[in-house]
Symmetry: C2
Subunit: 675 residues, 2 copies
């Protein structure tokens, strides 16, 4: 047996001298980087322990994209878990790297032993000698600051002063100045470094934003009752709606595809198979003689009109998000130029979309396997084309029907050149695929929020999103889409619309709304969870001013929600949600807190939401607050201000609430000063 | 932008063409190999899915240490999870490697579409054409067997026969022979391989065994009442007890340290500070003028005596496990020869064990950091020394007070040369350390079983051990040790002893018992959860024959338990435990099942344990069985035979039981034939 070198073994082998396991944030053992956005407060954790009774110190070593290094001392988590915790406010865009450093905290070990022994008069001289050795070693350590080295030498001398009782000498060695010095520069042994882990920190809008969706062809569309003809809205008329979108506080405007629409098998109103000559067709049936994914529908205007539209939005502080829907109508130019990008059936025809026996003959799915080199780069070209118009956000239609590997390639390629481009995955499918798309690079994802309406469902789902999947899956809570109209909204009236918007806007850093929600449009196609007369197949101009005048609009409520979001950084965080117990099965209570040092204003921000999720009733109950989660002392009373109504209450740990669905179904409290 | 090669990207990038995630068994993302033992049925799982509606096939490719490759078709787990499952019976010692293979199951896709469409008369010709293309492609695939190629060509011809209706042609293409052929050799596309994962498969005793512990000095020790002197037992007298140990069905005998015992600060009876001249001292205070860890206590005999003892045991089919307790008495030769292997305090003295202000002056802990090269290799030398005596099992004392990295090094070094050597970790500490020791290489671990006495505790803990930690942590359920005597045993009498033994012996593949348990020795030192007059500090000869005669012994019960274990392979598995509901909070019910193809006898084995964990009462309740977990059809009735009493009952899904703690507190049923 040849003798291994134990020292080099200890430096290389899987377990370090002090074990460091279960490092978080991490995604599948480091197979993909963890995700964060600029401004996010990211919790870090690791399982670290040592044999025996001596003290352990644990630190997070964080290197920002700029190269700036920071050290955070970690603190123990729940007893018995050996978890060590800290959090860091990430403020730079790019790749953060981090390691966990464990070490024997030799001062603390000595201090503990000396305290216990001197209290009972044991080993007093020995503990003084041990202290002298400790401080002398500390003083001469490499990297020790001159100031602390000097302090340590003084301490060593003081401990050697046999004229004073040991307990007095110990008192000197545990003075505040000493504790501060050893906290800032510990006296370490057995220093062990974990592997290096990576966090991709993207721009804020990758994770935080208020989205609004409209069909530009509807905004300004005019029906001539005499000729029974429609005149389509366009970028110029749609631009007139942008100030109102801005006024409601939205910062991203998403539009369904703006490209030419196919004629073959075009769908008529309510998804019928026969389209009349006046029916504009579904914007998702992309491609006609006028062109494909890189062209603008002639009815909407020219490229110059689109540029002007983008500029108007940008000047208002609104970003434009385009739809990336990778499918073609039978009239798409690709069908002729690149039939290999589709699937040819055994009879020589091109395969349309099917879910046998259902047929969707207006749509040809893309085949990504026949000619990956060709189709991958064509899609990249299309994306780059729209980026050249100033578009930096893409809402991706049905990404789960395309290969995950394709998305991973595309997003990496785009982000390599344009790091600010954000892709939102519109995948409504099983969790494994939705999570995989997040890992593959999608900056943001649609969620199951639409179908999570009860208190229990919301608590469970928000816990999953904020605790279990936050490292790779950034939720966007859409309260409505052109595709989905749940029974909750169909039958819940304005109360339901307010409740769903208030929870989406406060629980999730990103939320979204499809035009018409502010008018509580909620008539379903009979038997379906979809809007009747869906805008997907028809022009749908809305008389916003008339709705406002008649009091049918909740735009004012939406505006208030977005104002509250803008004013309160705690709300814009994903991972900081805590739930509080209430005695009623329909009263949901949660809070979000951010520490002063993690805010631009250097001011703690604590928000408490208490929502009646039953849109049909008045509910009364008691809310039991976990004061520690609010950063409040046990037994305290404090001011809460409802940011919706401006009412001020004095609350403590147990509080009566009455929430009338027909008046104000949701409290959004700012936690104020102790009273 | 240079054009990446998409094809080579798809071969290299993290996501394969078909995503494969969450592969199990695995330990921390592959940082350590997963564990198994020869004869273990290991469950495999992976999250695999594809975009769109087409069919997916998933396989486990398993390569045995001998190089033999096996393919297991995986089946879907719970709906919506995208988990795919199978299990494999590992029968070779050494390193298994495995990959998950995903592929488009093109026959199944075609068959599904053809079935749905032809049923409603759509696309009949097209589906025949698609089928012809499918079978022609399948027939010419590389690696296709001649037999199935021929079948596919015939099928292609049959499908082309336009004289027959499409539904008749489809019937031919879905005949049993076709389904068998495509199951055995699927027609694949988009073949994707996962990373390779590793399982260390160790010999059976690494995970499965019945352990007995005795102090050899007690067996045959004689007190001379006249001279008031003790004559120590030794290997020769202790060997006389081995046939009884064998008769009870134990296959491993563990002895506390057999080395010379220190004199300095030797502990007297009941851990008192003053030992009298007749007190033998704790065997864990290792080392005296007679030598250290590589020497035998002179009272026990010579090296030749020990060899003879090992031979006697081996001939009986009992393996000897020695204690590896890495600490020294102040009299240990290392203290003089290698003071650097201990910690020298600032006053020049060697540090004894302390938990300030408590002092353990009879023990010097080893320092593994002063001279790792020296001490690591010295321990390796000691272990190799005992291996040369035929010892292949080491029970390691307090491994959690030594560096984990040291154990990882030592076990790897030992196992590299002696693959059969097994280390059992006696760590009673927090979960993180206990789990880390398993990952570091310990083949087996003591557990919290001693402190899990209620039904809820047992269900929770057994679920953790069988489901969550089984890939790296192999439990050994000790019902007693010289250190621990729980209140449950102190006050539960023979019923408690039978209950605890029956559950340990059936729930865990490894279980253990310290001598005296069969006599229900349960008098505690007042105020402690320890035996009074602990054998650790005294000779403790037992009159086994008298106990047997007076009916004080439960050795017969223990014997029966070990016989049942030996006869029933289902019991010797770790990962196959299922719980069943009972209406009583103290009646625990669990079953273990092994499929016929996973047994040497090629016979299914199903065991159902129903235990009253309340040792003070008669309990009556209804046991509600999950028949699917027992491999039984819904609504069936079947024979159950109590292997303790040989009583036979007819049971079905809901069954009345009455368990009298004072008669037979536990049913161990073998599930028999349907009635």
């Amino acid at each position: 047996m040849s003798k291994t070198n134990v020292i080099s073994y200890l430096n290389d082998q899987p377990f370090g001298r002090l074990p460091i396991l279960g490092v978080s944030p991490s995604v599948e053992g480091g197979r993909w980087p963890a995700k964060a956005v600029v401004g996010e407060v990211v919790p870090f954790a690791a399982t670290v322990f040592r044999e025996g009774h001596d003290s352990l110190g644990v630190e997070l070593l964080l290197t920002a994209p700029s190269g700036k290094q920071s050290v955070y001392r970690m603190t123990p988590g729940d007893p018995g878990t050996d978890r060590w915790l800290t959090s860091a406010w990430l403020q730079e865009k790019g790749q953060y790297r981090f390691q966990i450093r464990a070490f024997g905290d030799d001062y603390d070990t000595w201090h503990h032993n000396a305290t216990v022994k001197i209290a009972v008069g044991i080993d007093e001289d020995l503990m003084m000698l041990e202290g002298i050795a400790l401080f002398n070693r500390g003083a001469t350590e490499k990297g020790r600051s001159a100031q602390s080295a000097k302090l340590f030498l003084t301490l060593a001398e003081e401990l050697a002063n046999q004229k004073r009782p040991a307990k007095d000498r110990l008192a000197i060695a545990e003075a505040d100045v000493v504790l501060k010095a050893v906290a800032a520069e510990p006296i370490r042994s057995l220093i062990t470094l974990s592997d290096e882990w990576v966090i991709d920190c993207e721009r804020e809008r990758a994770g935080v934003g208020a989205w609004y969706e409209f069909f530009p062809r509807s905004e300004g569309a005019v029906f001539d009752a005499k000729t029974k003809t429609w005149k389509s809205g366009n970028f110029k008329t749609a631009a007139l709606r942008l100030p109102a979108v801005k006024a409601m506080g939205f910062n991203i405007l998403y539009m369904p595809p703006i490209h030419p629409i196919g004629v073959a098998y075009r769908k008529g109103p309510n998804n019928t198979l026969q389209a009349g000559p006046q029916d504009p067709g579904s914007p998702w049936a992309i491609g006609s003689a006028d062109g494909g994914h890189d062209k603008i529908h002639p009815d909407l205007g020219t490229e110059a009109d689109f540029k002007a539209f983008v500029k108007t939005a940008t000047d208002l502080g609104i970003e434009i998000a385009l739809d990336l829907a990778l499918q073609a109508s039978p009239d798409h130019p690709w069908v002729k130029s690149h039939p290999e990008w589709f699937t040819t059936r055994a009879d020589g025809t091109i395969a349309y979309a099917e879910n046998p026996p259902k047929k969707y003959q207006d749509i040809y799915p893309i085949n990504f396997d026949n000619d990956p080199q060709g189709i991958y780069f064509e899609v990249l070209r299309v994306v780059n084309h729209w980026i050249s118009f100033g578009v930096k956000i893409f809402r991706v239609d049905n990404p789960h029907t395309k290969p995950v590997a394709f998305w991973e390639w595309l997003i990496a390629e785009v982000n390599r050149e344009f790091g600010d481009v954000v892709f939102l995955a519109e995948a409504f499918t099983r969790p494994a695929m939705m999570h995989a798309l997040g890992k593959a690079g999608f900056q943001q994802s649609y969620t199951y929020y639409t179908w999570r309406n009860t208190k229990h469902e919301l608590e469970t789902y928000l816990t999953e999103l904020s605790q279990h999947t936050a490292d790779f899956f950034r939720p966007n809570f859409w309260v409505s889409t052109p595709d989905i109209l749940t029974q909750y909204l169909q039958f819940g009236g304005p109360a339901a619309h307010k409740i769903r918007a208030a929870i989406a806007a406060t629980a999730s850093p990103s939320w979204g709304m499809y035009a018409g929600y502010e008018l509580c449009e909620s008539v379903a196609r009979p038997g379906a969870e979809e809007h009747i007369d869906s805008e997907k197949y028809e022009y749908r101009p809305r008389d916003w001013a008339a709705a406002e005048k008649s009091g049918r609009s909740i735009a004012g409520y939406i505006t208030k929600l977005n104002q509250i979001r803008a004013a309160h950084p705690a709300i814009r965080q994903l991972r900081n949600i805590d739930f509080h117990h209430t005695d009623d099965s329909a009263i949901l209570a949660y809070s979000k807190r951010i520490a002063a040092e993690h805010t631009v204003a250097n001011q703690e921000d604590v928000i408490l939401v208490v929502a009646n999720v039953d849109p049909h009733a008045v509910r009364e109950t008691t809310v039991h607050l976990d004061l520690a989660k609010l950063g409040l002392p046990y037994g305290s009373s404090f001011e809460v201000t409802d940011l919706i109504t401006n009412q001020v209450f004095t609350w403590s740990s147990d509080n009566y609430v009455r929430l009338d669905a027909f008046l104000e179904p949701v409290h959004i409290f700012k936690i104020g000063k102790l009273v």
